[in-house]
Symmetry: D2
Subunit: 402 residues, 4 copies
């Protein structure tokens, strides 16, 4: 059927909007939906229909497809970086609608280059999934917890049988009354790994249910914790815990940021440390989420995981030899295979960074991507702190001039 | 100059990558950047170059543009909703790469329709900005705080002089040692309002600096708190605080979710309430950020503000007449004018919802969008809770069958 | 009856342990309980029986009394303080079993005196109580919230009719699904005020239930939040928000703490700011709870409210003219009338500070006590930071000597 | 010298207040201080002077001693308990000034007895200390972290050489920029163990400084986290993580609490779960800190550690066979040896519970004390929830009667 015929049958009540792919190819189904929605709402959806991939190729990523959203993509770099996995000079694409973000990050990258580059390291790596089980009472909870602690090998066996790449790294039980949560942490290599972790955990849950009296209530019990702001992630990490830092000589600080290391350090302490403390925050940074979100969209990451990405701490310290600044992101969840990484524009984004597909060794590409994003986000921190501090200096100077 | 000429001059060191728009139109500059980056990195950026808007039109949103990222867009609905601003049946576009998300939210919407629709209300509305000032000591901090509390009208006068639409609603000082933070809250009508709030606050800061001994350190002191997970937002709200709920009869629960109201309520308590409590969370929901992120991308919102959107609490209660479920998002920051809302695919997305541009009365469109997103996110919560609960029931049934 | 006769009747099952005061005076009842418990458990309770007050006088504070717990009490001071309510030199008693605590705080007080004294100010003052109501749905929640915001005067009238001293300062509704929480804040003058706030709120709840469809579920809905660690208190305050600070010349720092301002500031940043940030804390201090707990026990405060007292932020900054340090306690709940303040040893403790009973104006004594405790706690912060920093310096020196 | 002579010499400036013990026995020094303070402040300190222990015996616990604070002590029980370490019927002394607390907890204990008793289990046990080290940059931070993970045995050797009883259980590094925090967790048996953990950690730090480039900044870096509200403790535990629960038949609920299991469960969900969620809490309970504080004071625990004790979650569930309720305290720090446990009234308090001194096996007494306190705190939760729910029911009934 063509789009018009599909639309006719939907209007006649013979088909439902989500069933069109059964009767036509994906692009036609998508077109028919636009027609129907335009009729119903008056919205002109032509722009949405101008997508660059075959709708069928997007099928793992979307249902009820009507087209594509387009976001402008810019680029920052080169990012000069001495990393554990990334090395040398790299570009990073950023897709955003926030004016000045790309320019701001880019300014920070330029200052870093003038400072002979940044360091970055992935510190820990574990994608987590934490089911919740019901037990009879706290006595049984203690028994099940003990069983879990003593049978990590059996759980690893079951979990790892479901995956070619994933390795179970940690298993930790937590008890609240008659609830037993078990947090599984996996090395999922170059995949972000949420699906891998879920499937592997499901197999491990079968073992727990078979061997203990615990009954599974939900495969995710929110101690994972996926796409929610949660201290367990800011403390223990999820995905990659990654840090970047740089020492910028005083003349470079002044040249690029029109302010001093002391003023930037003061702004950082009062805003990012004391202000965030007073705000009851899990994120002690200026706007790391901006860079992370833009990089996620440009490289095929999960946009909702920007939530965990924002669990980040910025430090800044004025020293004899310059401004020391660091950004540590506790839970940056990235992959270079799977998910949205196969879409044409996002695959191009990964190619631009030089990290598309599986790394060598496995995990090295995702490690490198994490380091590059963290370093770019640090550049964004420096640039915004510099702007805040120099505005202040500017007005201070204006006052003195009066 | 054409793209090739621009590229030549960059290679020759005569131009820098971010200066190309000064010498050519935006599309040509964008093309030149792709050429240069392809040469340097080997990345094929053709897909990135197939964007549907004029590069010049994206200029307020991006710098160093190389093209566009494309994300598949699906649609959910109709969402049947009795809201304070939204009314009747609405569609919502979702741009995502997470397979099954659209289908899952859509299933929840169908159950809501079978239940005669959801309710939604915007409860509070205030975009905030909170500068930090330096004072001499705690005695001066007390004086400045008192001055601020007593001079709200003067601050409002200065702040509102900068804007045609914004109204200053709240001003509240917070002291930590020799830091005074002042949190300003604005009704920014149909705009998300971060820029409006920043500009207005800058003017108010001038008054504070002129009338008190306080010295501005940073225009944002992180009590705002923008794009960071922070309790001040989950408690006090930022942007819209919006809630949606629905009562779903038992037969509808069973028909759509293949489980019972009791099982869904139990999963919600153990996962979203107790699990999140144990996780040290600010978000007590299953995956609200998924729906919020996808709706944000499809309607031109700021992707990094998904962070605050995830400050959401889901409740579920099994009652005699069915399953009562609610989702309350403390800090949903949305607009129907400004920012990314003018991009063609996002404008189409807003048209699909019927809320593009300024509302009547002002603010009504953004209110309606908040209600629709919250209701869709509730649909997503119900659907995922149903899936978690029914998997458990399924395995329970399988066991019984043995 | 005498104690032996009471004991006999309990053994015979004719009386229960908590009923003895109906048949004998309070001291005799207390003695009988000791006898019975000694028989049953073998515990020698003689020491517990050597209390200094009449058991009858303790009746508002205890049931099933068996005697008294005794804690050693020391004293720190003089505390030299320029406060909003406290002025000049003051002593503060501390009851504790933590060796070195009194000496440590006292060292800090000595350094403060050598620095010409500290400043302190009460910044806000509101004892809160927040009932939770059930409503039909979010539409009703919005209506009830609006009603509350528009009827603060009626609520104040009802609330203040229950009290001679208390004044209702703030009323704020919060909605989560079909829950409406209303946070009432009172100026309770020299009383800690939890009971006053509860009784007044109960009267206000009657008005809400009469005038709106909301039904009260619990008079405390945990947005109060009493005796639980909660961001709402660390952000918005409860009881007194109080801050103290001091500028200590470099030679005084070195003389008293055997380290430098720079080393103390570094320790504070790395430990109290960055460390607490990473820990997911609501308290960014070294050990403020130690001083607060000891002062609470010595002056008749509620020991469980040490929980809120620990919501405190310490800052330290090395400046040209010395070490600037501050402590801001968000929620210090103290009183100089009511509760445990009438017990003989605690009344003596308040006399030692010079703040027993009602102040002039009302509230001044509790304000002064808050300022004194905050300043002493700051002294404790300085002393511990100094010890941590000097240990490090000591070992650094030792290394250099090798 | 006698007290008068000491006082004379202080007045003459020949002695300072804290030096008196060098010139007289402790009781005389204490008396002299009271004389001097009475002269200076007018406070009558006679009651403070009537303490039951020899001042010299309190010397490890106090400096600048002036006497003792006395708090009324009551008793609750018998607590009927099936624990991992505690068994059978136990009494628990509570020292408090909060009227009705003892009666309330006691009512809960009675309901538990009528329900055939509660369960309790210690789930984990680790006293923590977390120093913070300075490193050059994030590359060095990664190296030091890796070294720590690979050299746990060497660290354990150094740490355990300092103690007869303690065992190092866990060592975990955390990085933020150029800070490396290392969280050490010890089994300290029957001691609360803070001192033991500190001394042992100091020895381990020497090893880290000798073997790596890390430099110790502070022996406590606030990831411990002692006496501060911090998610790391509510998530991972500190001291004992202990849980208690009970299933109370419906008739017992109604008999003791004058309400229904359903009403208690509803109050718990709306107040302790949803209300605490909205409050940004780390404690999801009604008033666990009340019972914990009172038990701590009566048994010689550290009053400031009530802060961590309040990291507790209460659940309540109405079932076919009654009300299931649980309390899980994440970080209850108790000991039966050392600290304040040797003071006469507190030693008597421990004897009353039957847990004074070292347990058999080591740790069993502190485990039992933790279980008893947790169960009593659960009794307090039930009683307060019952009171809140029955007030509501009472007014509901009154309405129906109209």
């Amino acid at each position: 059927m063509n789009a018009e015929e599909l639309a006719t049958r939907v209007r006649a009540g013979e088909l439902r909007l989500h069933e069109l792919e059964r009767h036509a190819d994906a692009d036609v189904a998508t077109e028919a939906r636009r027609q129907l929605l335009t009729e119903e709402t008056g919205a002109n959806l032509d722009a949405v229909g101008e997508y660059t991939f075959a709708a069928a190729d997007a099928e793992p990523n979307i249902e009820n497809m009507i087209g594509a959203a387009q976001l402008p993509m810019g680029v920052v770099g080169p990012i000069e970086l001495d990393g554990g996995a990334a090395e040398g000079e790299t570009y990073l694409p950023l897709a955003t609608t926030e004016g000045a973000l790309v320019a701001s990050v880019n300014r920070g990258c330029a200052a870093m280059r003038a400072a002979d580059g940044a360091n970055a390291r992935v510190l820990t790596n574990a994608m987590t999934r934490a089911p919740v089980f019901r037990v009879r009472d706290v006595a049984e909870a203690a028994e099940v917890s003990a069983w879990v602690r003593e049978n990590v090998d059996a759980l690893a066996g079951a979990a790892e049988a479901t995956t070619n790449h994933g390795e179970l790294r940690d298993v930790k039980p937590y008890v609240v009354g008659d609830n037993v949560f078990v947090r599984f942490g996996y090395d999922t290599k170059d995949a972000m790994g949420m699906n891998m972790a879920t499937i592997a955990t499901e197999a491990a849950c079968d073992v727990i249910e078979a061997e203990t009296p615990a009954e599974l209530v939900a495969l995710s019990g929110n101690l994972c914790s996926d796409k929610k702001p949660a201290a367990i992630n800011s403390v223990e990490g999820r995905g990659r815990t990654v840090a970047a830092d740089v020492l910028i000589p005083h003349d470079v600080v002044e040249g690029y940021f029109k302010t001093t290391a002391e003023a930037i350090a003061e702004a950082n302490t009062r805003k990012n440390l004391v202000g965030s403390a007073k705000a009851g925050a899990l994120g002690f940074n200026a706007h790391a989420a901006n860079t992370i979100a833009a990089a996620f969209l440009a490289t095929g990451q999960d946009a909702a995981q920007v939530v965990e990405g924002s669990n980040a701490i910025t430090t800044a310290d004025a020293r004899d030899d310059g401004l020391y600044a660091s950004l540590t992101i506790a839970s940056l969840e990235v992959g270079t295979v799977g998910g949205g990484t196969k879409l044409p524009t996002q695959a191009a984004g990964l190619d631009l960074v030089g990290v598309r597909g599986g790394g060598d060794p496995a995990g090295a590409n995702a490690d490198a991507l994490a380091e590059v994003i963290c370093t770019a986000a640090l550049a964004g921190e420096l640039s915004l702190l510099g702007a805040l501090a120099s505005n202040h200096l500017a007005s201070a100077h204006a006052e003195l001039g009066r």
